[in-house]
């Protein structure tokens, strides 16, 4: 249950979008005997409610543009929710206002998140994973770079910078393999990419249409042999993918391969 006393409406981040929690009410203490509308919102597991003071949305940058509600709603929608939302928005506000910003008003954030459903049994529980992005990318030489940048943008604020760098390399290599070896750079065969996040991990699924060919096991390249010229200098892709992520899984059907790249949240491996 909630009420509002002339404050900015709180925002509820759900699995499907961001909604304003509006309720009528004058500023607190303005009039005696004032009554305030009370409303009810239901939080699904992992839903986040974000409350904030107007110093955030009314902050201006050097060009006198205002941070604004639209930007805030978009950013909350892009983030996976939870308490890391505070740091994420603080960083976004800092980037928006730039260095030397003179704060115009107080900036206060409060985040409330409903706990995820507990797993019925021990082991992975991915039922609560949110899809952060899902898209197709054309299979063309160099096309992996756009996939990498898009995924990096989606997980910005969800993973720390060092993990994002590792994920970028893994996504780039997986996409390049999918475009080249899975789809043979065919224009009519785009690769599919899905990015999911739960409290525990971020998963990126890269799917190509080459299900008839098995994906080889990732082995450690023999650099001595490569330097002596007895082995091709190439062959680093799968090794790099595996080294950059906490886990890599391959799912194969009769028509498709999917490589799932998994990074644990809250302190995965340090050195891949």
């Amino acid at each position: 249950m909630y009420a509002n006393a002339g404050h900015n409406a709180a925002l509820q981040r759900t699995a499907t979008g961001v909604v304003e929690l509006r309720a009528r009410g004058m500023p607190l203490g303005l009039m005696e005997s004032m009554t305030y509308e009370e409303k009810v919102a239901f939080l699904e597991p992992e839903d986040t409610v974000f409350m904030y003071s107007d110093g955030l949305v009314e902050a201006h940058n050097a060009a006198r543009e205002m941070f604004g509600m639209k930007r805030l709603e978009r950013l909350i929608g892009e983030h996976a929710g939870g308490d890391s939302l505070i740091g994420f928005l603080r960083d976004e506000l800092g980037s928006f206002t730039g260095e030397g910003w003179e704060q115009e008003d107080d900036v206060t954030f409060v985040v409330v998140q409903r706990e995820a459903k507990r797993a019925a049994k021990s082991g992975d529980n991915d039922h609560q994973a949110h899809v952060l992005d899902e898209f197709e990318a054309p299979s063309r030489v160099g096309g992996e770079r756009a996939v990498m940048e898009r995924v990096a943008g989606v997980v910005s604020g969800v993973l720390p910078a060092a993990q994002i760098e590792r994920l970028k390399t893994a996504v780039s290599e997986a996409s390049m393999n999918a475009m080249e070896h899975g789809n043979h750079f065919r224009d009519d065969l785009p690769i599919k990419v899905r990015v999911e996040a739960s409290d525990k991990k971020v998963s990126v699924f890269v799917t190509d249409s080459g299900g008839e060919q098995p994906i080889p096991e990732a082995t450690t390249p023999d650099i001595e042999a490569k330097l002596e010229g007895t082995q091709s200098a190439r062959g680093w892709g799968l090794f790099l993918i595996k080294a950059m992520v906490d886990d890599m899984r391959v799912h194969t059907s009769s028509s498709e391969h999917t490589i799932e790249l998994i990074l644990k949240r809250g302190g995965g491996t340090d050195a891949g």
């Binding site: 160099g142 390399t169 650099i223 490569k226 790099l240 050195a271």
Partner: protein, 126 residues
């Protein structure tokens, strides 16, 4: 999203490097830059330097085929008994040079000053 066009430029001789030359790399290193990279390396080799230094300061992306190109240059340098030295790698690509073991076979420095400082130390040793 096209990346920055790649360039590999052989720098005018740097006095402190003595018998070494620097190739300044810019952009992203992937399979498509093979000719440009190899041409710059060939030009650097022409003066028979003892050391060729690759400057990665302005390289923002290296993929696995780019790693393969660097392996190729390293193999070439070792065959000619030249030292291949690199500097300017980001923390992430430093990690990649370590896990691929490229860093075991080349001298890696954080920046150009460190390369020069190391040479100065070596030459001033008794």
């Amino acid at each position: 999203m096209p990346g920055k066009p790649f360039t590999a430029t052989l720098r005018e001789p740097v006095m402190q490097l003595k018998n070494g030359v620097i190739i300044d790399l810019y952009g992203e290193i992937n399979g498509s830059v093979e000719t440009t990279l190899n041409n710059a390396y060939e030009l650097a080799e022409a003066g028979q330097p003892a050391m060729i230094v690759l400057n990665f300061k302005d390289v923002d992306y290296i993929n696995s085929t780019g790693i393969a190109l660097i392996v190729g240059l390293l193999a070439r340098a070792r065959k000619a008994k030249r030292t291949l030295t690199v500097f300017g790698l980001s923390e992430h690509y430093m990690e990649i040079f370590n896990i691929t073991r490229l860093a075991d076979f080349m001298s890696v420095y954080p920046d150009e000053q460190a390369v020069i400082a190391n040479l100065t130390t070596k030459t001033s040793e008794p």
